[in-house]
């Protein structure tokens, strides 16, 4: 039990914060606790949650991916076009994943092989990808997405659980296993924590970094296709500034922007928490402008908790060293 608390301390903190937020909103507005509303929170977390999972992998390597919003736009318009042109849903989804993978691969190569700083490299590609999305449709949205595709990505499956929620849960579990129980995941942490020591241990640092960006591209593609199914249209302007919310969810979940530290469960909870906050403020009738402020404060507070904990553990270490 003690080991469990120690291992998942950050995740438990987010759960506690989530509980506090939900109880406060529930007391103000009991309808907040209705099953429909709770499911709604999960449902609306999916798009940002999928982006944030990919983002977490990249941040753990010490990088960042600012292209997620633009990658989402490319996938949404191209897969939209495929389905409208008559491609069946399953091949369309696979095609979308391949596009996301390739776009992520390009980011990864820029960072790992050409040694560009991740922030600047993906800042540039963010603009490039956005332009590509507009070029694909000539600026127009893709309309009339076939119902079969929409059912596949966001249809009811079991009771009120939709396919998109199940997808989110499945991707979370896969990413968790990838990070905790595979060689690849271990390398991502070690690269983010000490790239030189990892390289000197004979690890192919470049290839693992590139894969992190490519996998991020795939989760972004899944997110794009969920959005396409939900909206029924594919806008080339979709996803603008989505990277900020994805980074926020990861940061709230305890992922360190310095690299080497982070958890998928934390990111999952972070995405839910952001949405729970947003929905709560809406349910309580708070002005939308306040939502921005509340979201921002939560992020700053979450990161500050990390700082304090870092200091505390350093103090404990010092005491131990002196003793």
């Amino acid at each position: 039990m003690k080991g469990f608390v120690k291992r998942f301390s950050r995740e438990l903190e987010v759960v506690a914060a989530l509980a506090v937020i939900m109880i406060v909103f529930g007391l103000i507005q009991p309808i907040y606790f209705s099953p429909d509303n709770l499911l709604d929170i999960l449902d609306q977390s999916v798009i940002n949650g999928l982006l944030a999972i990919g983002m977490t992998l990249v941040i753990i390597t010490g990088g960042i991916d600012l292209t997620v919003g633009s990658t989402l736009a490319i996938v949404i318009v191209s897969v939209g076009n495929f389905t409208v042109m008559g491609l069946r849903p399953v091949p369309a989804v696979l095609a979308g994943m391949v596009i996301g993978f390739v776009l992520g691969l390009v980011n990864g190569i820029l960072v790992a092989k050409m040694k560009l700083q991740p922030f600047v490299a993906t800042l540039g590609m963010m603009s490039v990808y956005r332009g590509v999305a507009y070029l694909i449709t000539g600026g127009w949205p893709v309309l009339n997405i076939p119902q079969t595709f929409r059912n596949l990505m966001d249809g009811d499956v079991v009771g009120s659980l939709s396919s998109s929620m199940i997808l989110f849960l499945v991707v979370t579990v896969i990413a968790y296993i990838l990070l905790k129980h595979t060689k690849f995941g271990t390398y991502l942490y070690s690269i983010g924590s000490n790239e030189e020591a990892t390289r000197l241990s004979g690890v192919n640092v470049d290839r693992n970094k590139i894969m992190a960006y490519a996998i991020c591209g795939v989760t972004v593609a899944l997110s794009a296709m969920v959005m396409l199914a939900k909206l029924g249209t594919g806008e080339p302007a979709a996803g603008a500034s989505y990277e900020t919310n994805a980074i926020a969810a990861a940061a709230i979940g305890g992922t360190s922007l310095a690299g080497g530290k982070g958890s998928i469960i934390g990111t999952f909870l972070g995405a839910i928490l952001l949405q729970a906050l947003k929905v709560g403020l809406v349910v309580c009738g708070v002005d939308t402008f306040w939502q921005y402020i509340a979201t921002g404060l939560i992020i700053v507070f979450a990161v500050y908790v990390d700082v304090i904990q870092g200091k505390l553990s350093a103090m404990r270490l010092n005491k131990k060293a002196k003793a």
Binding site: T182, K183, F184, T186, N194, A197, T198, L200, G202, V203
Partner: protein
């Protein structure tokens, strides 16, 4: 001559290591006073105390008979004590004059008075006989010229004392001549000079007296006119030969050549490096800091590229372009800097030990945590690791225990050839002894070791053979029977 600087009972304690121990000596006004000693003898520490970079120390420093206590380097500069570093540190985007006056620009009505500034800096450059002017950009100048700027900066602050820390290590021969001439010029102008160097020729060329440190203790001050190179070296060596750096078992080197390096060169760094490593041998690389031993090892290991040369492993030509390749040839590297190159900060001991062998601990990409833990438990027992907890973060361990984790990482890969780069740097005596025992066990098992070390006692105590390097060149290869501190220092210093 009157005394300018008096060091009185200077002691400096670092965690786990006494860098300076009751050092007392004095420097006369207007002399060039050399400060000599092996790597780690305490020269740089003493200089850092003198210049206010380490404000915490015991003892006192008198300048012109008055006690001084600088809180930081700027305090010292304003007092008239400047330092010319081994690494030139300038803002290359600014002009020469702006660099000289940086932070102390003359102003008029709140704005920098560039005319006044350049007039003043130009007059200093003229006094130094420099060929460049204040308005030139620094990035167009050579290293030697940049060093002149540092000297000009000292004069700008009306320095009474200037210290030089290995000023010639990055200069060409002609630049060295010019610098030494200038230092003599400064002396003629009444400035007192403290001069740290590893090059004894320079000491005999310009210095009046030399003070020698050894293991943080003051050994003596000698008059250069009345001494010889041999006498200086004899005073520098003879450190407490550790009772632990000895071979307890008989030497076990065989005739089999496991690694052969032929004419390895890297432009501007090292050249014509050739050596053979035998199975069961400990081959050491001795030399002073800056002799480029680490660069050679990083090239052999594939961590850095090299220009030309060949590497043979087990008699076959080896293509080592990256550490990954090195691993395939069963090489291991225990790097010089544990924290930045050796272990992963957020990883526990179990993961750090397994990092280079994850292929063995995983099946179809999935890692087997149980095997990783068992591996760690095994080496924790074998190496007497403390605390004996596989979940413990390696960064929280003491230096000696962290080093054991890194050694265990390469033992886990079952590396045939392990390069130990300064394996006992910053480690307490007990842990040093344990690391020497581990090295002996490895060669007894038929592994081969290359050790880069600046600690002469351990080089002499542990090695089968020793290659001595100086400034990127091999100066000689000594057999165990020939080893003593004087001969190694003689090769290392080019005496």
């Amino acid at each position: 001559m009157p005394t300018m600087i008096e060091f009185s009972n200077i002691t400096k304690q670092f965690p786990g290591n006494k860098a300076l121990d009751d050092v007392c000596f004095s420097v006369e006004k207007g002399e060039i006073h050399a400060l000599l000693g092996e790597n780690g003898a305490g020269k740089s520490t003493l200089l850092n105390i003198f210049h206010g970079i380490y404000p915490d120390y015991d003892g006192k420093i008198l300048i012109d008979g008055k006690k001084v206590a600088f809180k930081n380097a700027n305090d010292a500069i304003e007092f008239g004590i400047s330092k010319v570093h081994q690494e030139v540190n300038l803002v290359t985007e600014l002009t020469v004059g702006q660099n000289i006056a940086l932070g102390y620009e003359p102003t008029r009505r709140g704005l920098v008075d560039y005319d006044a500034m350049y007039q003043k800096t130009d007059s200093i450059l003229e006094r130094l006989g420099c060929r460049f002017k204040s308005r030139d950009r620094v990035n167009a100048l050579s290293t030697g010229e940049m060093q002149m700027i540092l000297i000009a900066k000292a004069l700008f602050h009306n320095a009474k004392i200037i210290s030089f820390d290995e000023p010639t290590s990055a200069l060409t021969d002609r630049e060295v001549d010019r610098l030494l001439k200038m230092i003599l010029e400064l002396k003629a102008q009444g400035i007192t000079i403290l001069y740290i160097t590893h090059r004894l020729d320079e000491v005999f060329a310009i210095a009046d007296r030399a003070s020698i440190l050894r293991d943080g203790k003051f050994v003596g001050t000698l008059n250069i006119k009345e001494t010889t190179k041999e006498e200086l070296i004899r005073h520098m060596v003879g450190r407490d030969v550790s009772a632990y750096a000895v071979r307890n078992n008989p030497l076990c080197a065989t005739d089999e050549v496991v690694l052969k390096v032929e004419d390895l060169c890297k432009n501007g760094v090292f050249e014509h490096i050739s050596f053979e490593l035998h199975r069961g041998e400990i081959l050491s690389f001795a030399g002073l800091v800056g002799s480029k031993r680490t660069d050679v090892m990083r090239a052999v290991f594939g961590a850095d590229p090299y220009t030309s040369g060949e590497i043979y492993i087990g008699g076959k030509k080896a293509e080592i372009k990256s550490p990954q390749d090195a691993l395939k040839y069963s090489l291991g590297l225990i790097p010089e800097n544990r924290k930045t190159q050796g272990f992963v900060k957020n990883f526990n001991n179990a993961r750090n030990m397994a990092l280079a062998s994850l292929n063995r601990f995983s099946k179809r990409g999935f890692i087997n945590d149980k095997k990783i833990l068992e591996n760690c438990m095994y080496y924790t027992r074998e190496m007497n690791l403390h605390p004996a907890d596989p979940e413990y973060l390696t960064e929280s361990l003491s230096g000696g225990n962290a080093q054991k984790v890194i050694i265990a990482k390469w033992m886990t890969t079952d590396a045939d050839i392990i390069i130990f780069d300064e394996p006992t740097k910053g480690i307490d005596v007990g842990a040093k002894a344990e690391i020497y025992r581990l090295m002996e066990e490895l060669v007894a098992k038929g592994k081969s070791i290359i050790m880069v070390s600046s600690e002469l006692p351990e080089v002499i105590g542990m090695s089968d053979r020793v290659v001595v390097m100086r400034e990127g060149k091999m100066m000689g290869c000594l057999k165990r029977e020939e080893l003593n501190e004087e001969i190694i220092m003689k090769f290392a210093m080019g005496g």
